[in-house]
């Protein structure tokens, strides 16, 4: 049983999303995952990070701590932020798609995160961090 861990701190800005996607993709491929595994995890992380930037931090620049690890063929990405508490595992269904404003948040990201992760867990730490763990099996 071996464990590989990588971690990095990113500014909570939209223009960091490609660098975060590359961080996830490189880790998945180095850990033995396929391009398909990488794309799936990348999409779930992209949606979760977008939620942190826009809603947890309300577009104010802060830090997002990202930890990637693999153990027993399970790849996990943990996202940590000090923003507004939000538990995506408990979020309701998407809003109506008949919106007037194209930029209105519809909650479409949450079903994407849930679908492309095998397991999803959230906790609010005693020191005030949101910690979201997104995992996928690669075997």
């Amino acid at each position: 049983m071996s464990e590989v861990v990588r971690q990095q701190v990113f500014p909570s800005r939209r223009d960091e999303l490609p660098r975060i996607a590359e961080f996830v993709r490189a880790f998945v491929l180095a850990a033995g995952g396929s391009v398909d595994h990488a794309r799936r995890l990348e999409l779930a992380v992209d949606e979760a990070v977008t939620n942190i930037i826009e809603y947890a931090y309300e577009s104010i620049e802060e830090e997002i701590h990202i930890r990637a690890e693999i153990q027993d063929n399970e790849l996990c990405i943990t996202l940590e932020d000090r923003g507004v508490p939000f538990d995506p595992t408990q979020a309701g269904p998407p809003l109506s798609m008949n919106q007037e404003n194209p930029h209105q948040h519809l909650g479409l990201g949450i079903p994407i995160i849930r679908h492309f992760a095998d397991t999803l867990s959230y906790r609010r730490t005693a020191s005030g961090w949101n910690s979201l763990r997104i995992c996928r099996m690669i075997s």
């Binding site: 939209r14 223009d15 999303l17 490609p18 398909d36 794309r39 799936r40 990348e42 999409l43 992209d46 949606e47 977008t50 998407p94 798609m97 008949n98 919106q99 194209p102 930029h103 209105q104 519809l106 479409l108 990201g109 079903p111 994407i112 679908h115």
Partner: protein, 111 residues
């Protein structure tokens, strides 16, 4: 992300290539709304080379489709790859936008 389009008779064909996500959705939205504001009401979208879509990209397609519907028009998409199709299915987009497997299939929905 690249987006391009051409009008053939009364149908406007467009294609979106690359990644439609938080980084690129504003450019796609501006272009699509410009085509709609120019009077195009029948639109067929080729997504064969769309590699990645996130919820930000979905909102662009939804808004364009809804705007066309309000004007008595319609948008049909075709050539969706497996992962993009999975995103459409899980978010319910495939219930509100017509999606076909081929350009001919998309075209037939306007006849």
């Amino acid at each position: 992300m690249q987006i391009q389009g051409v009008k053939e008779n009364d149908i406007f064909f467009f294609s979106i290539m690359g990644r439609l996500d938080t980084q690129t959705y504003t450019d796609a939205e501006k272009q699509m709304m410009a085509w709609i504001e120019a009077g195009n009401t029948k639109m067929i979208g080729d997504l064969s080379d769309l590699e990645f879509i996130s919820s930000a990209g979905l909102r662009v397609l939804l808004y364009a489709a809804k705007t066309l519907n309000q004007q008595g028009g319609k948008m049909v998409l075709f050539g969706v790859n497996d992962q993009v199709n999975e995103v459409f299915e899980v978010t319910g987009i495939s219930n509100v936008i017509d999606i076909t497997t081929s350009k001919d299939g998309a075209f037939s929905l306007f006849n």
